[in-house]
């Protein structure tokens, strides 16, 4: 199959998933859609860097993660002043067990959040998570463990 066809199929079949992943960074629909759109353009323009067809999922998620982080960085310069106006979070520090998804992505530090999503919700292997987030596998394991602990969840299934 041609790489372009492979990519088109991948996007058509996984659009919901990649949209959710983008959403976990942006926390709103419009920005998630823009991130995704930009990521698709970037991906097509760098299709050459996709060496192995089996690797398309982590390869594309990596582009989404980088695009989202860059956009958040760019925007944070502008929204910084509004920070004090933000409503305090509804959940208290020690009540993670009643967390829902929206609160999870709101509350958890990005470096923990993405690992939980990729590992458990997107069913990626530790190696794939490491690739997407550009960190080594041991760091993934450590952070996953810490994240689950913070969430008061059963951390035994980490590996």
């Amino acid at each position: 199959m041609k790489k372009t066809d492979l990519f088109e199929n991948f996007i058509n079949e996984n659009l919901d998933n990649v949209y959710r992943f983008a959403y976990s960074y942006t926390k709103n629909k419009e920005d998630a859609e823009d991130i995704l759109h930009e990521s698709v353009v970037k991906a097509i323009r760098s299709l050459n860097s996709l060496k192995n067809a089996d690797n398309i999922k982590p390869w594309f998620y990596k582009i989404v993660a980088n695009t989202a982080l860059n956009s958040i960085k760019a925007k944070s310069k502008i929204v910084y002043l509004e920070y004090e106006d933000m409503e305090p979070l509804q959940i208290s520090e020690d009540d993670y067990s009643k967390l829902n998804f929206m609160e999870l992505i709101e509350k958890l530090e990005p470096k923990y959040k993405s690992i939980i999503i990729l590992r458990y919700f997107e069913n990626m292997t530790i190696a794939q998570v490491a690739e997407v987030l550009n960190i080594n596998e041991n760091t993934v394991k450590t952070r996953l463990y810490k994240a689950l602990k913070a969430l008061r969840m059963n951390a035994e299934e980490v590996y």
Binding site: L15, H37, I44, F101
Partner: protein, 285 residues
Amino acid sequence: MDDKLKEIKKEYESLKADDALRERIGITMKKEFSRKNALKRTAAAAACVAAFTVGLNVSQPFAYAMSNIPVVDSIVRVLTLNRYEVNEENYQAEVVTPQIEGLLDKELEDKLNNEFKENANSVIAAFEQSVKELEAEYGEGNFHEGVGYNYEVKTDNDDILALDVYVYSIVGSSSTVHTYYNINKKTGELITFESLFKEGADYITPISEYVAKECERRNAEENGMFWLKSEENPEGFEKISADQKFYINSDGKIVVCFDKYEIAAGAQGSPEFVLPDEVTADIIK
């Protein structure tokens, strides 16, 4: 998996991309794929231009010989020889062929003019071929294609004629590939980048440092989107090439040029850097 995590996962999975996004992404993919094809063809056309420049540089000994002939008056000018235009709803082309007149070095003049003609013809041929192929693949009216070939006189004074001849694609995000010709009117010589500097001088390092610093400044002060080489971005700008694209502006300053997308996001267009005297003071001939 932890029950709580399962619940959160369910909630995560209830988030769905809506139809408008699906459609928008679908259209973008189609556009980008056809742009990819168009670029391949444009690149092939641009390759002809590049190959031609190499050929010209070799003819320097002859140009040098010309410099010994006293110049009385030179009326060097650039005219538009030919114009090819297609303007359909979904595909367009504008190919403008320049012609140089009045060079004392007739051989150089003919060579340049022939190459302009050949390049224009190859752009037209690639465009017509591409429209035919796209029409066969996607059906009449279901595709977009656009190319252009044009020129701009950058400098025209007593000393220098600087000409920018460029090929561009106007599908999706447009890309542009420039070729600059700097002609020394007094000698009839085509000026190479290297020939501007003292023999053996390392001109790459100081100019690269200046360009990198200027990219950083534009990023910081002017919301620039220049890509500099770093660990995360190994493709970013590091140094200029030995035969860097350039032209001499009307102030006699060297302007270092890059193609669109070469070192910056498309919004920067084709970036140019006018080299200040202090950068070139030690290396210039």
